[in-house]
């Protein structure tokens, strides 16, 4: 058993709304796992619940063999990091890139900060020329690269990706997806990636789970999806929709 991340019977309840209704999944170490669904399917909630940002009502989450309780300790954040959807909202508006990257190092008491920041910026293809810019001086793609650099700087083993490219232009999306694949290969990372776009999930992930209104619809491998070997109508609808508009008349 080498599950990097396993979730069992997870329930999330906001006020009275059941956002997740007993979802289970298991992500192997080094694997890239996708969560697909439309808005309200609970895919982002699942990600946030793992990160400790959503109220878990019941169920269990295990990371690298350790069962997580309600709280998250510093050791958890060294293992699991997250990249958010909106690159315009995930960087502090009053901090330079330098300051953004320094913060995690300061919190975890790393001594070789300078070197790590330079290395992180190089790794995401920005270089040190961007180090003292503010978020508003960056394009969407550059912001997302900074967000990835920030997530990687603590050297986690698991990366949670919440629609990391849906706010980006198609050409920039390709660059960011390539970057993510590259860092995953280089650092042997485990990905748990959320997207509404089946094409992106099949491109990035080996296995995936289709979700609808807080529940798992079905678990598939990417090749099953590509070969249209799906069992549920909902998945079939999603597949059809992702092929673009078809004039019926």
């Amino acid at each position: 058993m080498n599950a990097a991340l396993s979730v069992d019977g997870l329930e999330v309840i906001f006020d009275r709304f059941r956002a997740l209704k007993g979802v289970s999944l298991e992500v192997r170490s080094g694997e890239s796992y996708g969560l697909v669904g439309e808005s309200g399917s609970g895919k982002s909630t699942l990600l946030r619940a793992i990160a400790g940002l959503a109220p878990v009502a019941s169920g269990s989450i295990t990371v690298n063999g350790k069962n997580l309780g309600k709280g998250r300790d510093k050791a958890f954040y060294r293992e699991v990091q997250m990249v958010f959807q909106d690159p315009y909202g995930s960087l502090h508006p009053r901090q330079t890139v330098d300051r953004l990257l320094q913060e995690p190092l300061a919190i975890h008491g790393f001594a070789d900060g300078e070197k790590r920041i330079e290395r992180a910026l190089d790794e995401v293809g920005l270089g040190t020329g961007f180090r003292f810019r503010y978020a508003h001086q960056l394009s969407g793609g550059q912001r997302q690269r900074v967000a990835i650099a920030r997530a990687l700087i603590l050297e986690p083993s698991i990366l949670l990706l919440d629609e990391p490219t849906s706010a980006l232009d198609a050409s920039v999306q390709a660059e960011v997806l390539n970057l993510l694949e590259e860092v995953r290969r280089r650092r042997k990372l485990t990905f748990l990636m959320v997207s509404h776009d089946l094409a992106i999930i099949t491109h990035m992930c080996e296995r995936l789970m289709v979700m609808q209104s807080g529940e798992a619809v079905e678990n598939l491998t990417a090749s099953q999806l590509v070969g249209h070997r799906v069992t549920k109508d909902y998945t079939r609808n999603l597949l059809r929709a992702s092929e673009g508009f078809v004039r019926t008349a």
């Binding site: 997250m82 958010f84 909106d86 960087l91 502090h92 913060e103 919190i107 810019r133 503010y134």
Partner: protein
């Protein structure tokens, strides 16, 4: 400096690729300054406040007479003239000199109140906003209690309890002015609390203390500075009001409000005794208001960083 040198310096400040922490910070300040100085009225406000600072600093040099010792025999209640620009009061003191020295007390009150009230409000507001739940409820109900009374009445009550005097007046005004700051800071905190960038810092493993202090407070500071600047006029007026009622600065201190109070008796025949300090209060309040408006345009994060 040649125009080229100025141009290159400007380019350096406005660079999209700052090479150091310092350049990034200076560039940001420069952009805010340009936005501020483009506003004529705000500039006038700034000049008034700078003038106030200069006058307060060089009062000894600028004032032609002593502010406290008058010439009772020859100079009682003289009308404005070349010798006494703003005339003299009932104790034969030169009003012009008293106003110049009074600027020190005005600054003393305004700065002390700002230093005491703003941080208290900021702390209460951000902690309440970020913590939520019971902490929020308790802190905000306390704030509401303070807000429920008119400022001057509450200040009066405190001064009455503490005893008259300018230090107690400052304290009383500070105690009554923090609640609006707490409200602003809390509102600002609530809007950023759930943003992804704060979530991202949580995911770094930052403690709540660190998040409030290093990530939320800096975002609240600019709107707080604006509000404090706009409140300065009100603080001056409250201080003057307390002085007028005899609960603030005590004679012979040349505090503007106290001066108006003592000039009240002659207001019909010797208008300059109350009029001159009144005019000084008006000008300085106006200066702070204009400055505050300009700062709002220059610093307000909502007006866009783009």
């Amino acid at each position: 400096m040649s125009t080229e040198a100025i141009q290159s310096r400007r380019d350096w400040l406005l660079s999209e690729r700052p090479a150091s922490r310092m350049q990034a910070r200076l560039g940001r300040a420069y952009v805010a300054w340009r936005r501020f100085s483009a506003n004529r009225l705000a500039f006038v406000g700034l000049l008034i406040i700078l003038a106030l600072l200069v006058v307060a600093a060089f009062a000894d040099v600028l004032a032609p007479y002593s502010p406290t010792i008058g010439d009772l025999k020859n100079a009682r209640l003289l009308a404005p003239s070349a010798a006494h620009w703003f005339g003299t009061d009932d104790l034969g003191r030169d009003i012009y000199s008293r106003i110049i020295y009074g600027s020190r007390w005005t600054l003393y009150v305004v700065i002390l109140v700002a230093i005491i009230a703003a941080p208290v409000g900021l702390l209460v507001g951000t902690v309440a906003g970020y913590a939520g739940g019971w902490t929020d409820a308790i802190l905000m109900r306390i704030t509401d209690i303070f807000l429920a009374f008119p400022k001057l009445v509450l200040a009066l009550a405190f001064v009455a309890a503490l005893g008259p005097g300018i230090e107690n007046a400052v304290l009383a005004i500070a105690i009554t002015s923090w609640p609006p700051y707490a409200r602003i800071a809390r509102a600002e905190t609530l809007t950023v609390r759930n943003s992804d960038y704060i979530k991202a810092v949580q995911l770094m493993g930052a403690s709540p203390f660190r998040i409030v202090l290093r990530h939320i407070m800096p975002l609240c500071i600019s709107s707080l500075i604006i509000r404090v600047t706009l409140d300065m006029a009100g603080i001056i007026l409250t201080a003057a009001g307390l002085g007028f009622l005899g609960l603030g600065a005590q004679p012979p201190l040349p505090e503007w409000g106290t001066m108006i109070a003592s000039g009240r008796r002659f207001i019909l025949d010797q208008w300059w005794v109350a009029g001159a300090p009144g005019f000084a209060i008006l000008i300085v309040s106006l200066g702070f208001n204009l400055l505050g408006d300009g700062l709002r345009d220059a610093l307000d994060p909502r007006s866009g960083d783009q």
